[in-house]
């Protein structure tokens, strides 16, 4: 069992969720309620990671964030180390790759709120902030929960992008999914089996918890 790899994966997943939650709330809410030119294009762009092969996305991220690119150079001048092939680069890639998994469920969550309920909040004199905090977020909660679980589980299992952008540096970019591949390559099927089972159980637990929680939430809203 490669504990550092598991720890790294869990850290990466937690940070990805933490960063994507506010991004998902802001973008998902905007896409749910606002009409603007180019909205369809933006939605398509955000959904792209769903259909793009991870290696293609990884390649472009490598090009954009690599040492030869302005972004890569800027990061290196700021932190004294390259963006790619370390945890920072992995996190950026993971955030981008998980955008649709975070935004789409949150957008659906906001869309599911009856427009009159938001109108009623305005007529009650609620500020935008209070409407978001007191009315919209509690009602969109099942969507938020799905987004968090999907993002978390998906990050744990991500392989292609991580390999392209992060490589296989133990303790820095070697996630559990890479470690499993690594073990299989080394004919260490026992270790690969243990790690696969661990990953399977963690993912199953996260998704089961999400289903259980949202099933408990539903009767409160529609019963």
């Amino acid at each position: 069992m490669d504990w550092p790899a598991l720890k790294l994966s869990l850290e990466l997943a937690a940070w990805t969720v933490l960063i994507l939650l506010p991004v998902g709330i802001f973008t998902g809410r905007m896409l749910a309620y606002r009409q603007f030119g180019g909205k369809a294009w933006l939605e398509a762009l955000l959904a792209l990671p769903l259909v793009l092969p991870p290696t293609v996305l990884g390649y472009y991220l490598l090009v954009v964030m690599g040492g030869a690119s302005p972004i890569g150079q800027f990061y290196e001048s700021l932190f004294g180390r390259p963006l790619v092939f370390n945890f920072g680069g992995l996190l950026v890639a993971s955030v981008i790759f998980n955008l649709p998994f975070a935004i789409q469920p949150i957008q659906r969550g906001f869309e599911a709120i009856a427009p009159e309920v938001r109108d009623a909040a305005a007529c009650c004199g609620l500020s935008r902030w209070r409407t978001l905090w007191r009315i919209e977020l509690p009602l969109a909660w099942p969507g938020l929960l799905s987004a968090m679980v999907l993002t978390f589980a998906h990050t744990l299992g991500e392989f292609g992008v991580v390999l392209m952008v992060g490589g296989n540096i133990p303790g820095e970019t070697k996630t559990i999914a890479i470690a499993i591949y690594d073990r299989v390559q080394a004919f260490d099927n026992a270790a690969a089996g243990i790690m696969s089972t661990t990953l399977l159980l963690i993912s199953l637990l996260a998704i089961a918890a999400a289903y259980f929680t949202s099933a408990r939430l539903q009767p409160r809203r529609h019963g």
Binding site: A114, E116, V117, D119, A120, A121, A122, C123, C124, G125, L126, S127, R130, R134, I135, P138, L139, P219, R220, R221, H222, G223
Partner: protein
Amino acid sequence: MTEGIHIRLRQTGPIPLDAALDCAPGEVLALVGPSGSGKTTILRAIAGLLRVAEGEISSNGECWFDAARDVYVAARQRRVGYVFQNYALFPHLNALQNVMEAMLELPPAQREARARDWLARVRLAGLESRLPAALSGGQQQRVAVARALAREPRVLLLDEPFSAVDRATRQRLYRELAELRRELAMPVILVTHDLDEALMLADRLCVLHQGRSLQAGDPYAVMTRPDSVEVAQLVGLRNVFRAGVVGHDAGRDRTLIEWRGHRLEARLQTAFAPGQQVNWVIPQGHVMLHRRDRPSRGERENPLHGPVIECLGLGEQVALTVAVNGAQRPPLFLSVPSHVARRNGIAAGVEVGVSLLADGIHLMPADESRTPPRPGERGPGTGKLAASH
């Protein structure tokens, strides 16, 4: 006049509007019209949930909207109490919390006690901790009313507030609203498609059609003396006919009209000159069926005869369609209690006599574009406005 609310709204699209409404403090103004007539659009514009192209809205001298001066006060700053058609309660908050959300300007310590007071006033004491889903339709409506009033609004807007409850509950809620409104000092605008509801609850009625306000006034007056054939049809008056004015008899307070060879006496209406073509209307309540066994004095008033071409039992009432001077012409509609119909042996094909009460005959400018419904065609129903879709 600055007191109360004054509304002028105009736009050509996407929903055409041309409405002028005024509602004084303590007054209940009912907006009636078929579906799609712009009733809810007007309420939303008043609340600040929808911006209209042109117009002004002011409440107690405070400008909420003035397109010319680019003034637009946001909904959250307008102080409107809005009872939505499906109540739009916050589904995750209990009754008490729903009401408390409308009182954020009060110090937190006072909110709960005041919200409890409001719920008690709408007879919901004891149900404070129930979520909306655990309340009946009528109870949800009361929470919505309490929440709207807890805002201490400058205007109370009620959008079909009785449409989502059963008949028995509706009757009870009517009585409660009638009681409550005596205590309310703000203008109340009630949107409804039910004319009976408007008659029961409103001080004034405004008839809307395709976004235009056609006529406003005392509900009974609008429903018996419409300004135009269009209004007559919208308020469900089916007895609309063409006639020529013969002359006026000021001494007897009568105007005489010529209709299908009969000389009819109407209430004196000197706005129409002798010789002029007019439309006239008579509410069904002013058409009297003659007793077949024993004639009475009232039968001298504009007597007419003809066969019953349709006799439709509607519970306690029977709707009769009588062909006067030929079945091909628009018939006369009247409604009688079913025991009267039974006692007089009324059935399709039976020849009957009716009297048109002169006070009920109301003249309107001739409207070429609108022909009264032909026999067999259904005009707008008696109590409800016909839906436009």
